[in-house]
Symmetry: D2
């Protein structure tokens, strides 16, 4: 089979760069064009220095995009919805990594993004990008919307429990610990190293937009609530979600094991991590750096009905670019792990 | 007045070293002896290198302790209770920094520390060491028990709300993010730098012993529960507690302000940190390094009755040695901030 | 004696903030005004969050400065020389923390700063601010010029050897390892946390401007060369200089000890750190954070005539604000350590 | 061709684990056995948590090793030389990653390792493992000795200059900045996170054993000296060498370019990094994490004959396991980059 021709719109940022790295190493894919209006004509390895000696690609302007098999959109939130019909003309398939097509209900954009959606007709055409939840739809989908990194971490941790309906619907509390790359590649006073280094910054105690995705994916027709907070810590890549759920009935850890095994037993990128001893008893984002795994563990509080679920991933991989390549593999019938084989490092 | 003669039993550890640093700089105090059985005869500045050129003290054996005005105990948990009568003979006043006298109910030791207390008669003689809650008792106390660092952080954050009885009693969820110095100065496989660096380690998702202190101090005669988890992050000093409480009635942020001001308005070491903009909108442990402040902030979730309370301190200062010196100042009628003037650094 | 009235021009940056912290805690000093044109009217603790509850000062405009006893200038390089006569009218004594009056030879400004000095007549009125080298001149000086942080670290490490004339004059190689706060408080692409975190960045392999100060202070009438490089590492505060000098004659380590003791025996802020065992055998900047010490150690290479000298300090303290307060203490006859008592922390 | 059967002796450490990760992903290789006496019978992914779901291998005892095509030795220094004949019986080819067969002259072991070599006859049978210098010999070699990580970094940076004989032979000064994984996986007081975090530790100002390798590989029949120091910094993986060489004649940067291009033009794992602007103007170890590249840059000091050479690599990859796999590829005629395709991450 001829290599799939792919282009990336908005390839100068962290997500675009990571996607480019993965696609350059993907054996079924040829990277046709990558765009950046600001850097048109410049070598991509100047911006993404890990790609030195790997590619001689230069950034193109989006105005010069050629037809191809699939386009990845790595634009700022709000851009993709305004320009979607420009891109549907270029390729039969699109994977959008912004927030613009994640939510099915147009009203959610008003509520969570403070603006009406500019092209709501497209919302139902997009499949939400968490592969473990929407694999079957992806197989025939033309459009996939990459999920938010914090949403992916939280949803993958909680999905089996919510699907099995064993959780009190209104009392779940989630706190994610996130790294600085989540904020993108634009410098600001808050990202200045002397200020950001060693920070434990409660940047979003309430009101995080990714909550909308969690509610959409975990409700299963019920009314639920997720009490979500996000804290930045000293880390560049990585998300760890600590989710406190309250069990409706008296389940033991072995029952929880069964629920997770049943949901994720065959999943190539989910690992249940729960050891009795050793250093890495629970998921840790650092050993996931560069990998596409989402590691999930849990512990039952013996003094209450609380179950603490711990889920971790690399926000630029399973939380963005890796997830998108996994979706591509599903959409085109490739082995799902193609191009995503890097297991992560230890120590690191 | 002649300087107060103080000795420290168990001064080779991190808490003992920090206490020694503070007491050497305290204008009303003379450090008489500091003990370490392992390091007897060695200069303390070899172990605590920041004290080079500050003191020529050498470690003594506890067997050689002389009478003095007050003894600080920085022994491993379980030692102080076994040897307490040895120390009451040495000094009229004792501040114990272990867990051995924190809990009033002897049964709590069986439940949380898996062993009966070896000298329960002393439990009622000790005042629990959070100065903001027990200042009046401390003024006449002979024995004070330093509070746990995670307990102090959580209790100071939540105390005004529990005292005002505005919180649902069974649904509070707390997660502390802690640094590596909390684990003390003994190297282990888990504290080995390549493993511990950059970690986000769910070392105690449930069952942390400091919960017992929180329940004791926050109950106010009610039956309450605190769903507590502890996560180690990349940090040496510092604790930040994110506490999710659910309000019984519809309070606004200005009502919460009033509750905190009423509880802490005159407190020298509590700062309410809640800014509309800027980098440091909420408490951050890094700017508290070396200081005795506990910074507290909060944010109301507009979509629910959840209030997120954020509290931070330096675990070796306000969470241990600084708190102990503050208690000493109260016990002896000194200005409460004496020897605790260092404000913390920025940037750091 | 009435408190000394001091003002700080340019107090919104890191050096100005650190100076303000020190002066607020200095018992002989009253901080009259601190200026920032951009932040006029704003509380200083909004910019320097460690000073919350420590001061209610607001930033003033330099146009509103009142007469006072001493003015500290913390302006960008190039400003102080242009405006120096504006400030000499305000106070009888000035300590300038920029590079504008560090070099005695006006030609050096052309060679190292690529511009002629705009007020060369003032160069000879300023005393170079390394107190250990110029204490006697400072006692009667009206104007002191704070030394560069990298220059201070290197000069203090090498001064005894150059003074004793035991070093080959043209072969010394120095590499400083520096933290991110050296670059000031302005965010840039290079200071963006995901890029700067964990960096080992050769930001100035040759041509660093601080070399001019080293040559000036270490020459003692000889012609010398210093081969200097600067590397940024993962650190916020701190400088460590590794200096490789080649001995002219066959000196043993005990001879080197004598040379250092003779030069620094009575110095309050110099510590010779050279242990046979333990973790802190040589100077380490991290335990100097917030302190005014410069720690110096050395090791002779047994296979050659190389002597490796290691010197470390906190760039914002002994390398800037602390050095300036030490100079103030000398100028006004205060105890030299006044306001500079903080010993640094361990662990940290 | 049937897959190559390989075993790793001593696979519980960091180098052994990294080698295992690479070999598991190598398409021409089958990992037969990995040994650890302490962990015999345990799953390797318990020790190397990044390999969860990648392998079900368990550790074997060396006593149970079967015959195979090639054995990698990752034993502590001193073991391989004592047991070498045990391993030559198991496989026709050996790659030893310890220091035991790096030096050709047996006397060097006495001088640098303080003990005579126990099997000097084998020294001449081993090829020194820096592929760029010894590729031709490796093609027919049976035994290869992996080079030291600091030696590899320094040698690769300096080799073109020494080979071209443009460097003063006795005045080169090198300082490496290294991460904590260089010290291996055994916890110690010095590797305890509160002590090691943020350290700038002059752990080997002189006398480092890797100097022997540098002298051996860079001499080209001349008498040379390398003045070498090693400093630990806040980093887990990575080495950066700053080498100060003094040019014998007046070369310009374009001449230096030619020398490097001539030496490394066709090398798959060497990149010359020297940009006029941008953040990554010179080599940085962090973007090499997990990759097999050695990045090299340089800058001429315009005020002297000094050339500053900057070289960087991942100590566990190009400095150990990656280099060994590259050697395996050469020995067996595989494409040299096989199994070493990971380019490194950005940001990280």
């Amino acid at each position: 089979m001829a290599a799939l021709k792919v282009s990336i719109v908005g390839a100068s940022g962290y997500t675009g760069g990571e996607l480019l790295r993965l696609l350059l190493g993907h054996p079924k894919v040829e990277v046709l064009q990558v765009t950046s209006e600001r850097l048109t004509g410049k070598f991509v390895h100047k911006t993404h220095p890990n790609l030195r000696k790997r590619t001689d690609l230069k950034f193109s302007s989006a105005a010069d995009l050629q037809k191809c098999d699939i386009v990845f959109l790595c634009l700022p939130h709000g851009s993709a919805m305004d320009r979607i019909e420009e891109f549907t003309g270029l390729a039969d398939r699109i994977i959008d990594l912004s927030a613009d097509f994640r939510l099915r209900n147009p009203d959610d954009y008003i509520q969570w993004y403070d603006r009406p959606h500019s092209n709501p007709a497209f919302l139902e055409k997009f499949v939400y990008g968490v592969c473990e939840l929407h694999r079957e739809e992806m197989k025939t989908a033309h459009y996939v919307s990459g999920a938010g990194c914090n949403a992916t971490t939280t949803i993958l941790g909680l999905y089996p429990l919510y699907k099995a309906d064993v959780v009190e619907p209104h009392s779940t509390v989630v706190e994610v610990k996130v790294g600085s790359s989540e904020g993108g590649n634009s410098a600001s006073a808050g990202s200045h190293h002397p200020e950001r280094s060693g920070a434990v910054r409660s940047f979003m105690p309430a009101g995080h937009r990714h909550i909308a995705e969690m509610l959409q994916e975990l409700a299963f027709g019920r009314k639920i609530n997720i009490h979500f907070s996000a804290t930045s810590i000293e880390m560049v890549r990585g998300v760890l979600a600590t989710s406190h759920v309250f069990l409706k009935e008296d389940l033991q850890e072995k029952d929880i094991w069964k629920i997770y095994r049943s949901a994720y037993g065959g999943e190539p990128f989910i690992r249940i991590v729960k050891e009795r001893d050793g250093i890495f008893r629970f998921p840790e984002p650092k050993i996931l750096t560069g990998s596409n795994y989402c590691d999930i563990g849990f512990q039952k509080d013996e003094r209450s009905n609380r179950l603490v679920v711990i889920s971790a991933l690399d926000n630029l991989m399973k939380g963005a670019a890796g997830q998108a390549v996994q979706a591509l593999n599903i959409m085109f019938g490739f082995e799902e792990t193609t191009g995503l084989e890097f297991p992560g490092l230890h120590p690191v």
